[in-house]
């Protein structure tokens, strides 16, 4: 089949292309058809471009021609009429120029596109636009995603961890937003000052002096003991007048500075001190200068000088002891009035009134002075009274104080006496107890001494009694020792006899134990362990070396598992004998053939009976059987042990059993003999 297809295809391939063209060309022109078997020409078109066939009509284009046409396009034909081919590297520049003018004409070909497709290079813009769109979407989406991620990171802790760890710059972004949130929260406060920081750096250190702030200070105690205003009620008034006068002087200076000078001397209330100052003042007003008593003539003297024609000038008033400021003011006013009148030259007119005024004034001043004096007197009286009162009070206080002190003293004295008494009592008590204890100790000591003496006496008594007894014993009781020695000898004799009886008993026990073991062995129908009996035997023997050696000679398996009975041994021998007979004729180092031969021949061999003479297997077996029937286990085992080769190998187990039994029998014999020997050795 395969060959057929291959040959067919080969034939198809072998057909010349020219012939195909011959009969295919017209059909193709007719139906515009192309077969798969045809060679593919340059019909491949760039999408959107016109087919090459169109300008050449029905004739299929030759590849060479098409190529030449495309190569000559740039010079001869306009760009819109020729089909656009994939640009060649060398034409690239031209093609790019042509693409600037897309074709507008509608192609007349069979192409499905009704409108001229955009030129080749128009595709890249589309692509780029798509790309740009895609990029924009991507950018927007990623930005949104990033923003969302940042926001969610601010909300969820898990996402925060994930975002900051795996997303690039995620940590910075989230950190920035967190910081902003923190700042917003702390906006009420002033922006963080670098105050602390500067302090840490050591700049602008605020230094607080050591004595700044509040500090403690002992309260100022009004030292009532020292001197002060409180000591005397009289002195209180002394310092006060000065500030009062000064206060009074202040308005004076404010009113008139020129009159200050005359006012001041008056304050000092010393008329003779005023004189020199008033001399200086005489230049302006000479009337004021004369002293109190010579006032009137003196002012009168200068007065006529300015106005001799007129009535004599009114004298200035001067009043003694005008210490009161009010009085001074009044005097001053009056003086002013006088000066005015004098200056006016109307002295004659007002002199009478002025004089009356002066008199009145003087009277008033006198009244004031008397009032003052009475007041002062009253005050002094009052002060004196107060003094007396105060003194009385002080005296009372002192008295009371002294009384209290006396009371205290008395009380203290009483207390002291009581305390003294108490102490005395306590001391006496202590003394008494001490005395008692000392007495007791002394008594005890005395008692102890007495006791010691008593003990010593008793000891002496006992020793003396002992000595007496010893001396008695030496004489009369010496025969008791002989008696006791004879009794001891008797005891020894009885003990020896007891020993003999004991050993007899022991040997009897031993015999009994041996018999017990033997009986268990004989009575058992199957191999039973006799380890208990053997243990009892060993116990009874009580470390008899012979017995222990005999027991040690027994194979442990024998008493742990048990030994087969005689009947079992015979039974087993019969089966062993049949097996041995099968291997009776085997030579040394026999193979399969000899085994088979021996097996077959052993079937037809004659069996011997009785006690035949000879070393062959058959006679040995016969002899062994006879011996076993006689009960000579030892002989039977010896006979079987004489075998060799396969026969002995087969009989090995049986021999082992026999040996075990024999060992046990021998050991038991030895023990029984030993017991008998022991019983004989007693006498």
């Amino acid at each position: 089949m395969l060959r057929v297809t291959l040959s067919r295809s080969r034939i198809l391939l072998a057909r010349p292309a020219a012939a195909r063209a011959q009969w295919l060309a017209p059909s193709r022109t007719a139906f515009q058809q192309r077969y798969f078997a045809d060679r593919k020409t340059e019909e491949t078109l760039v999408p959107g471009s016109q087919s090459l066939k169109q300008p050449y009509g029905g004739v299929p284009p030759v590849p060479g021609v098409a190529k030449s046409a495309s190569s000559t396009v740039d010079t001869n034909t306009p760009a819109k009429n020729i089909p656009i081919l994939p640009p060649k590297p060398e034409d690239l520049s031209d093609v790019s120029k042509q693409t600037l003018t897309p074709p507008t004409t509608v192609p007349t070909g069979t192409g499905t596109a009704s409108v001229a497709p955009p030129a080749g290079p128009t595709n890249p813009p589309k692509k780029s636009r798509k790309m740009r769109k895609f990029l924009a979407y991507l950018l927007v989406l990623s930005a949104l995603g990033y923003g969302g991620g940042v926001y969610y990171a601010l909300v969820s802790d898990n996402w925060h961890d994930f975002f900051t760890e795996y997303v690039p710059f995620g940590e910075d972004a989230v950190g920035y937003f967190e910081e902003r949130a923190f700042k917003k929260r702390s906006q009420g406060r002033p922006p963080a000052l670098p105050r602390l920081h500067e302090q840490v750096r050591g700049e602008e250190k605020v230094r607080i002096p050591s004595n700044a702030g509040v500090s403690s200070r002992p309260a100022e105690k009004a030292d009532l003991g020292g001197k002060g205003p409180h000591v005397s009620a009289v002195d209180d008034n002394v310092p006060k007048p000065k500030p009062a006068v000064e206060k009074g002087a202040a308005p004076v200076t404010g009113q008139e500075k020129k009159n200050q000078a005359p006012a001041k001397p008056e304050e000092s209330s010393s008329s003779h001190k005023l004189l020199p100052k008033q001399d200086g003042k005489q230049e302006s007003s000479p009337a004021a200068t004369p002293s109190a008593k010579k006032e009137e003539p003196r002012p009168a003297a200068p007065a006529p000088a300015p106005a001799p024609v007129q009535t004599p000038l009114v004298d200035h008033i001067n009043i003694e002891n005008a210490s009161e400021p009010v009085v001074q003011d009044v005097v001053k006013i009056l003086n002013d009035l006088i000066t005015v009148i004098n200056a006016d030259g109307a002295a004659g007119k007002y002199s009478s009134t002025i004089e009356s005024a002066k008199d009145n004034l003087k009277k008033v001043i006198g009244d004031i002075n008397t009032l003052k004096a009475t007041e002062q007197k009253n005050a002094e009286d009052k002060i004196k009274q107060l003094h007396a009162e105060f003194d009385g009070a002080a005296k009372q206080l002192l008295q009371r104080h002294e009384d209290s002190i006396q009371n205290q003293e008395v009380r203290w004295k009483e207390e002291f006496e009581a305390e003294q008494k108490l102490i005395k009592e306590a001391y006496e008590q202590k003394l008494k107890t001490e005395l008692d204890s000392v007495n007791k100790v002394y008594d005890q000591k005395l008692k102890n001494e007495l006791l010691e003496q008593a003990i010593a006496l008793r000891r002496d008594f006992t020793t003396s009694v002992q000595n007496q007894v010893e001396t008695e014993r030496g004489g009369r009781l010496s025969k008791l020792g002989e008696l006791s020695s004879s009794v001891a000898e008797l005891e020894k004799l009885t003990g020896e006899w007891n020993n003999v009886v004991d050993t007899n008993l022991q040997t009897q026990h031993l015999l009994v134990a041996v018999e017990a073991v033997r009986s268990t062995l004989e009575n058992s129908t199957s191999p039973t362990p006799f380890i208990e009996e053997l243990a009892a035997l060993k116990e009874v023997a009580s470390n008899d070396p012979v017995v222990s050696a005999a027991i040690a000679s027994i194979n442990p398996k024998a008493y742990q598992i048990g030994i087969p009975t005689y009947a079992q041994l015979i039974d087993r021998f019969r089966r062993v004998a049949t097996e041995v007979r099968k291997a009776a004729l085997l030579p040394e180092n026999a193979g399969v053939a000899s085994h088979v031969a021996s097996f077959l021949l052993s079937k037809v061999m004659f069996r011997k009976e009785g006690l035949p003479v000879g070393d062959d297997v058959e006679s040995v077996l016969a002899r062994t059987e006879v011996l076993l029937e006689e009960g000579d286990l030892d002989g039977a085992a010896r006979e079987m042990n004489g075998l060799g080769g396969w026969s002995k190998t087969l009989a090995r187990d049986w021999l082992g059993e026999c040996r075990k039994v024999l060992e046990v029998q021998q050991a038991l014999d030895v023990i029984a003999t030993e017991a008998r020997l022991q019983s004989l050795l007693v006498d």
Partner: protein, 98 residues
Amino acid sequence: MSDTTTPTPATAPALRTSRPLSESLLNDKWDRCLSSLLIKSGLGLSFGVIFSVLLFKRRAFPAWVGLGFGAGRAVEECDSSFKGAAAQSRDGLRVLRP
């Protein structure tokens, strides 16, 4: 064999597990030899049959040859086992060669 086993159950398994009874040694060997003869001759026969089918156009002789090979090998093994067994085993003994 069954008779030697004691009625007491405690002793019987101890004996059995330790080692086979000496009188049954030869019988055991025979059993093993026969079984191996069967198996090996069967194997040889089957190989012979396969060869005859594949290569020898279903002739009979390859089967016989295979049977012979198997049986021969079994017999040889059996022989060696019989030969070595009678003599006392030399396991654990040092052999001095001249």
